[in-house]
């Protein structure tokens, strides 16, 4: 684990924690509070009475069968999806239709997508610098310093001047993680980050996520990678048919599942 405490902090950047780490934490003890969330797509009841509290520094892995509402729930946390009933409170700020609140929350919540969604017309470095310059209004030099810092964090500093199309899938996803980290978010959302990757590239991305977890980042991960979940998660959540079926610590979740659906899902996943 690289020691960041000796690295000079670029001027004008956000204050680091006293111990020199570059991961920020939420102000409130409860990082994300989802209260009785209900969402309909037309007539289809896609999220049913979902309630979940994510504490500061916690790593939650949400798993479950396809179509169970996992990604939809994740995308509600930064209001990429809206909802008809219930409340979502992120670091003390309630998410409503107010655009300014939404942008404020999105600034502090980073998201990594299954399809990477890098901007193909910009270089890797520009991809990472874009948001700090235009959202945090950082001077260009500072943004570049931060971008290079996080590209080094995800172990691809030499790719800075390449374009996304020139990188492998694993490298692209790591750039996506670096891009989200350049905004120095307090909470990171991962929507099936390794599902679109070739098997040999999955490890490098999971390792990056593991390092992030060790540094105290609050993480909400939707994933099928059970090995990773077992190592990194504080709590496992199983979702099916739009509702939370079971929540437990990883060891208990895997060795002693209590709900029928959980047992069925685990038997299908772990072969």
């Amino acid at each position: 684990m690289t020691d960041h405490s000796e690295q000079k902090r670029p001027a004008g950047a956000l204050p680091l924690r006293a111990d020199g780490r570059d991961v920020r934490t939420t102000k409130h003890e409860v990082a994300v509070d989802i209260v009785k969330l209900n969402k309909w797509f037309g007539k289809f009841h896609v999220l049913r009475d979902v309630s979940l509290k994510v504490m500061r520094g916690e790593r939650i892995v949400i798993c479950g069968p396809s179509g169970g509402g996992k990604s939809t729930l994740l995308r509600c946390v930064n209001r990429l999806e809206d909802w008809q009933q219930g409340r979502v409170i992120v670091d003390g700020v309630e998410l409503t239709e107010d655009l300014r609140t939404i942008d404020d929350v999105r600034r502090e919540v980073g998201m990594v997508f299954q399809q990477f969604n890098l901007f193909p017309h910009l270089s890797v470095l520009d991809n990472c610098m874009l948001a700090p310059i235009w959202v945090r209004r950082m001077p260009r030099k500072d943004a570049e310093a931060i971008a290079r810092h996080f590209l080094e964090r995800v172990r691809i500093p030499e790719q800075a001047d390449k374009y996304p199309a020139q990188l492998s899938g694993g490298q692209q996803q790591r750039v996506a993680i670096a891009r989200a980290l350049c905004m120095e978010p307090k909470i990171m959302l991962f929507d099936e980050p390794t599902s679109a990757l070739d098997p040999e590239m999955v490890k490098e991305v999971l390792d990056t996520m593991g390092e992030l977890a060790m540094d105290g980042m609050t993480m909400l991960v939707v994933s099928h990678e059970m090995g990773f979940a077992r190592q990194v998660a504080n709590r496992m959540v199983l979702m099916d048919a739009g509702q939370i079926i079971e929540v437990n610590e990883p060891e208990a979740f895997f060795t002693n599942p209590r709900h029928e659906r959980t047992k069925l899902f685990l038997s299908q996943i772990l072969h």
């Binding site: 930064n78 990429l80 655009l99 942008d103 999105r106 600034r107 919540v109 980073g110 998201m111 997508f113 399809q115 969604n117 890098l118 901007f119 193909p120 017309h121 874009l130 948001a131 235009w134 959202v135 374009y163 996304p164 199309a165 020139q166 891009r179 989200a180 905004m183």
Partner: protein, 381 residues
């Protein structure tokens, strides 16, 4: 007894990368493989050659071989005088050249038009070459400062320059003014309309749909006609807007509606994930569109945009209907000069106008292709 195939294999050494076999290059290979490689190829090659000869030869004969190059009036272009069949009558073009280029702009003030052309060339050329720096300053000068300077230079009435009415402007000058203004004006307006048409705000969306459908629903001729002859009836008495300005406004609004739909096609083609990634980073609506979506969308629809530009460039000939004499209008007006009436005057005039339109259109088209290739960073096509 069947010999079993080897079931196990372990590579002893890795094969190094070699040069590929030399592909057949050069002219002999071209002839051997492509043009006459098979019976069908040979037949097609011969047919193609025949077609080229049949089409090009008469044109070359008319424009170059049989053409008359020196003369003072119609007499010099008649077959009786020359003693052989006559092709193009180039003295006609030569004597009328100033009219074709400048219309009836006073001869003593032509230096102002030439200065405007020179300024345009000086400011545009560095903008077109990608490696030349200071693009932002250059763009501001060309799109912001130059139009104002050009306007005052051409109209006059200030700084001691005599006033030249727009009625006197004509020829290629007017063609370029209308095309240039139309293209530069319709692009930003079209982008805004396209964004508005996809907006979540109902009022804006309805307005943009209405605007686009209206302006696409009427022919450009009626727009020009209405702007020139009907609009003055609606304005309060004593209010006059210059005739050329009315045409420019009509052309910009008309072209913007078409540009909006072209841009909208590009916006639709951008994957939803790009919008989501930009939103998740906290970029607001305008930053998301300006930094992420539009750069990709506009790059995608360069073919469509250039299409619209070229169509606009040639649609400028319609201004003849409102008594503005652009390049083609001047050529056609010159046909009625009795001093130059010969059987070949018409062909010569149209050939000349056609060549000018072609050269400019082809240059624009080629440059657009160059831009497309340069911007092709995502290697998708």
């Amino acid at each position: 007894m069947v010999q079993d195939a080897q079931t196990a294999f372990v590579s002893q050494q890795l094969i190094a990368s070699l040069e590929p076999p030399r592909a057949a290059v050069g002219l002999p290979a071209l002839f051997r493989q492509r043009l006459f490689g098979s019976v069908l190829n040979s037949v097609l090659t011969l047919l193609g050659a025949l077609l080229i000869i049949v089409l090009i030869w008469p044109a070359v004969r008319f424009l170059l071989i049989d053409a008359v190059w020196e003369g003072a009036s119609r007499v010099d272009c008649l077959p009786e005088t020359v003693g052989r069949p006559v092709g193009a009558c180039w003295p006609f073009v030569e004597k009328k050249f100033a009219q074709f280029m400048y219309g009836f702009y006073p001869a003593s003030e032509l230096w102002r038009v030439n200065l405007t052309y020179a300024l345009a060339a000086i400011l545009l050329a560095p903008l077109l070459v990608p490696s030349i720096p200071y693009k932002t300053a250059n763009a501001i000068l060309f799109f912001g400062v130059f139009p104002v300077v050009a306007f005052f230079l051409l109209i006059g009435g200030v700084f001691g320059l005599p006033h030249v009415e727009t009625r006197l402007w004509g020829g290629l000058l007017v063609t370029l003014i209308i095309s240039f203004t139309g293209i530069i004006g319709s692009l930003p307006l079209g982008i805004l309309l396209a964004l508005g048409r996809r907006s979540d705000l109902r009022v804006i969306r309805m307005f943009c749909i209405g605007f686009i459908e209206f302006w696409r629903g009427v022919p450009l001729i009626t727009v020009l006609f209405f702007a020139t002859y009907m609009l003055p009836l609606f304005l309060p008495p004593g209010w006059t807007i210059d005739a050329l300005l009315r045409v420019l406004i009509g052309v910009v609004l008309f072209a913007a509606a078409y540009m909006a739909e072209v841009v909208r096609g590009g916006l639709q083609a951008i994957p939803r994930g790009q919008y989501e990634a930009a939103m998740a980073l906290g970029l607001g609506y305008w930053r998301m569109n300006g930094l992420v979506i539009l750069p990709q969308a506009l790059k995608l629809v360069i073919p469509g945009m250039v299409n619209s530009f070229l169509a606009l460039f040639k649609d400028t000939t319609l201004v003849l209907i409102v008594a503005i004499f652009d390049l083609l209008g001047q050529v056609r007006a010159a046909f009625s000069d009795p001093n130059w009436a010969t059987p070949v005057t018409l062909f010569t005039g149209f050939a000349f106008a056609g060549m000018i339109y072609f050269v400019i259109s082809f240059a624009i088209s080629r440059y657009a292709l160059f831009v497309e290739r340069r911007l092709n960073t995502d290697a998708r096509h």
